[in-house]
Subunit: 230 residues, 2 copies
């Protein structure tokens, strides 16, 4: 029978060689993972990039040089392994902090550009694409919370990070909007546009760093054109 709890098994706390790193990530993520376990999850990530979520547990064991039995002991079942991997990777994604000092038009624009660049860089990476594909695949099947996890650490996290910036911009008289969610949607759309869905559908010519920079600057510019003040 499958285990009851999701995420990581609480009753198996191995070596604990490294201290629990990132704590404030937005979700319970890589807290109780030993070094060895992180190696395993790294192997899973590599496999996912290489062949999506169509890897066998045996392949993971082979790639990570550990036994299947250990994998099942640590992660419960295949889905737990997948979930732990996605959680862990999601906890590693970092979005640039916004400057705490008083906003100016230029610093706001720079912050928006930086956000967009960071975001576009992430979502066009092989790793993110592989994870999003897996999450999308599993989102249909009730079981498995992959979609929820990626959603939380993806668009929702971006929204939560951006809203303070928008509110600060409005407070500083630089932006004008009624609904902050509407403003977020506009910025998200201008920045991402069809980039992500095309990448997910397998289009090969993804934007490079140079194009991402251009697209981000344009998105920030256009957003300010729509919601800018003065």
């Amino acid at each position: 029978m499958p285990v009851m709890n999701m995420s990581l098994h609480p009753d198996t706390a191995p070596k604990q060689t490294a201290a629990p790193a990132d704590a404030a990530s937005g979700g319970t993520a890589g807290e109780g993972l030993s070094e060895r376990q992180r190696e395993v999850l790294n192997a899973v990530l590599t496999l996912m990039v290489a062949e999506g979520d169509r890897f066998s547990v045996a392949a993971v064991a082979r790639a990570a040089s550990c036994s299947k039995e250990t994998l099942y002991k640590w992660f419960g079942d295949r889905d737990g392994l997948l979930t732990a991997t996605v959680r862990w990777q999601a906890s590693k994604v970092r979005i640039p902090d916004l400057p705490d000092k008083q906003l100016t038009h230029d610093s706001l624009k720079a912050a928006l550009t930086g956000f967009a660049t960071s975001w576009l860089t992430v979502i066009t990476s092989d790793l993110s694409i592989a994870l999003n594909r897996a999450a999308v695949s599993h989102a249909g099947s009730g079981k498995s919370r992959l979609g929820e996890i990626v959603l939380t650490n993806g668009p929702i996290a971006m929204k939560q990070r951006l809203e303070p910036l928008f509110l600060a911009g409005r407070a500083a008289g630089l932006l004008a909007f009624d609904d902050v969610g509407e403003a977020f949607r506009a910025f998200f759309g201008l920045a991402v546009a069809d980039t992500q869905i095309r990448a997910l559908l397998g289009e090969d010519n993804r934007p490079g760093a140079r194009e991402i920079e251009t697209m981000s600057a344009r998105a920030a510019q256009q957003f300010l054109g729509l919601y800018g003040q003065g």
Copy 2:
């Protein structure tokens, strides 16, 4: 050994009760499909909505009241069946034609709003989500052209349909842009924003017809704010 040709087997041309319907769809789609075959593909669509692409060929045979042997005879293998289904559904999607008469600001805005509404309605439907999920899932694995098909009939088709409208708008002095692709990206982003990726990741509260109307009108308004002239 598996059959050589993709798509539909050319050597099996059954009943052919109905005349080959839609011809100018943008891709070779539902030409040589008999009524019975369309019934089968309908069953596949229903199954895909219900359980993604995790259906067995036996389940298709059961749902369509036909034999597995016939399925393999018609479609070669499971992937051929899936591909034929996606092609067929894609060929059914219709995007509203744009008015041929002289554009005005209002008719342009209405056309843009109509486009956005049509598009948002499609991509938030259960069927489209199921198909996009399947295409995204298979896009990673080299094999299977599902991603390509959905891409062609999705964003790319939308782009090809919109560009004439944009060019007409520019010719009429209503729009100003240098790169029509850039203008498309902006409109796509403003219209779709995070709606599709959230739906694909399993978020349940998708926009209804009312919200779609609102979002579409706003997208058109904002697009005109960015690229409008006069």
